[in-house]
Symmetry: C3
Subunit: 313 residues, 3 copies
Amino acid sequence: MKFSRPYTIKEIAELIGSAFIGDPSLEVTGLNEIHRVVSGDIVFSDHPKYYRKSLESEATVVLINNKDVDIPEGKGVIVCDEPFTAFNQLIEHFSPLRLPTSMIGSQARVGEGTTIYPGAFLADDVVIGKDCRIYPGVVILAGTRIGDRVIIQPNAVIGSLGFYYKKREERFERLLSGGGVRIEDDVEIGSACTIDRGVTDYTIIGRGTVIDNQVQIGHDTQIGKKCLFASQVGIAGCVNIGDEVTLWGQVGVTSGITIGDKAVVLAQSGISKSLAGGKTYFGYPAEEARKKYREMASIRVLPEIIEHLQLDM
Amino acid sequence: MKFSRPYTIKEIAELIGSAFIGDPSLEVTGLNEIHRVVSGDIVFSDHPKYYRKSLESEATVVLINNKDVDIPEGKGVIVCDEPFTAFNQLIEHFSPLRLPTSMIGSQARVGEGTTIYPGAFLADDVVIGKDCRIYPGVVILAGTRIGDRVIIQPNAVIGSLGFYYKKREERFERLLSGGGVRIEDDVEIGSACTIDRGVTDYTIIGRGTVIDNQVQIGHDTQIGKKCLFASQVGIAGCVNIGDEVTLWGQVGVTSGITIGDKAVVLAQSGISKSLAGGKTYFGYPAEEARKKYREMASIRVLPEIIEHLQLDM
Amino acid sequence: MKFSRPYTIKEIAELIGSAFIGDPSLEVTGLNEIHRVVSGDIVFSDHPKYYRKSLESEATVVLINNKDVDIPEGKGVIVCDEPFTAFNQLIEHFSPLRLPTSMIGSQARVGEGTTIYPGAFLADDVVIGKDCRIYPGVVILAGTRIGDRVIIQPNAVIGSLGFYYKKREERFERLLSGGGVRIEDDVEIGSACTIDRGVTDYTIIGRGTVIDNQVQIGHDTQIGKKCLFASQVGIAGCVNIGDEVTLWGQVGVTSGITIGDKAVVLAQSGISKSLAGGKTYFGYPAEEARKKYREMASIRVLPEIIEHLQLDM
């Protein structure tokens, strides 16, 4: 998330009522969750295990719950008991919840030749390109940018809130969603798909990717060009998928991993770790298909083997 | 389902045109399906295999297709050829289908600070607490009670009809849905989730539970507090889930079972029998993860073993 | 797809600006994709591997990218560089996209006793029978025919575009959807289900079939009578399912296969090839359940066997 102007660390610290360490005139230009952080960003870190990663990231300022950390040259920290909550305060400040009063936001921008069917909902800041078709029941929430010639079929949801919580004693505290969804040209999205917005950055569906019905895509996941995802695929948050990747029906993808260009994953597989591109995968956990096929053939003869061995166990 | 006043067994029998056995002044105060029956209830039983269970349950009156059963002291039976159909007649009588004429039912009650986005549907008797957000395309049907600070994301469906049929020669006969859904405080429900109402009682989502997109929860399932369900989890009807249970993506749960507090079930697992709390489970059928991991490691070496044994089969 | 009157091969060739071979007065009465082709139809074929299949099918005219094929007696071909694209041109011509301007199409026909809830969308040419209930958020697109006593629960989508593409160098080219969905009497469809229309013919849900929430059914799939599909089942396109077939939760079915009458497939199974009727199946790939159970029992003892063998590998 980019701010409308640069802010000093002093201004930000005052906004959330916290002390800071560093040059008071140190400037920040946005905020991001650690997966997407760039120079000029504020990030948060609330566990000693991740202090170093945050301080050594591209972030310029870290919200942190420890004042005795080594701060790299040219950076600063804002010290607060609950960095997660403080980060939420900033998201709320810079991206306040706006309550819509009509199905089509009065400031939503829709390109020439684009059809918005009756019964679709567009939040106020949504931008849609040319020659798109947005079917009935589609809900497009804040922070969504859509290219040209995009088809979104009925009852798909674009830009819902990410499933990202901190478990507190009393309840789960939600990380607010200040990011968006970017859908590039020529993308087609099936009925009843759900695509969550990024928490601070964009969830991205690359140019020409086609997605069947009931597919789930988590927050901050970035998908390359010309991918094909069959029905009921579920992709968690913070996943990076290359170009021309094929995921067949009901495949599940865990969070934070990477799938290389032109990988093909067969139906119902479960992807629990990163996969190199250009190969075909299968099973749970998904591995190269020929290896899995060999295992499956072995299992098939296993009952006979056991009988044959007449093991005295 | 509770009646607005007590009825005598005689009144109920007349309503459905059937004979009864027992004290004509015996009073009933509601009706329930066998999973949820309490004292004062009417229940139905149409198979000799379940006669005893019904007669010895908490129910006060049993709709039954056999007049020669032993009736416990203080109870009564209503004798009819088709108890299932008679039960449906009573649900229809006491909870008649009401056809809405507007997106927001004129008698729906919504608490202070709650936002109902444009494009959401609320049935007439829905009650929603304070500071909730109900996003566009959410459909909330009859019999739903929602607490405070609840978030329901776009296109989720709350209170749809349970998937509960009796297979007849000619067709499936649906058990009507006279129950509801109770969503407690601080629950968050993802986009395109579907939560069926109870057939006579409540489907319950306990306080502080958070549910990702495209999760299915069947009729009469009761879920504890502070659970976390990832995307595309499917939970059948009549399931009992404790507190702080975690189900990862695409897990499936069969009907009628129990999952103990703090159980964790890994992605894509299939739960086919009850699970004790406090442990981590995996696979189909879901078993303790370390056991399953050991099996998976064995399968991995199986092709080599078979080669090594050079079995002459 | 049937035309409103017969057309000559000459007229069709002129429509798409292509040459033809055959009797200029040869008449066609409709068009179909190869899975559904009948006499009088135009079909397309763009790969030498399938030339023969198309030419020897029931089709009367084949759009083809080769002028040197043997044309059976009484048939004709239209020669064009891109038969897929030419076929799309014809679909577009004979079934032009009509943009709706209201939630209920002005020419949609709805039978007596049928309730259309507020928030449902009906395309202009939709026909619905008597005593149906169409819940809020249901989207019914062009080409849908619905019988009597049908229930469609909230946010289900009927008639969305099929997931059928040709992969081009630059992008996926969609095969347009000129077909429809036929839902027979007494069918019940759960919340958030998605049923794609046929590309040229009907996707069919047979009489009395009941479908739970979040079920996906692909284009041109034809389902028999009195089937029962539990929640989150995913069925690809061009599948043929018999009568009284039961698919339990989260089952996946690959495209183009056949499942026989009264087959039962247990939860989470993956069906990758045709299944004979009357049996119970399980696993991935789905096979007879008793065989799979035996394999599962073997896997369970595998770790002990490996230990017992003390293999020196």
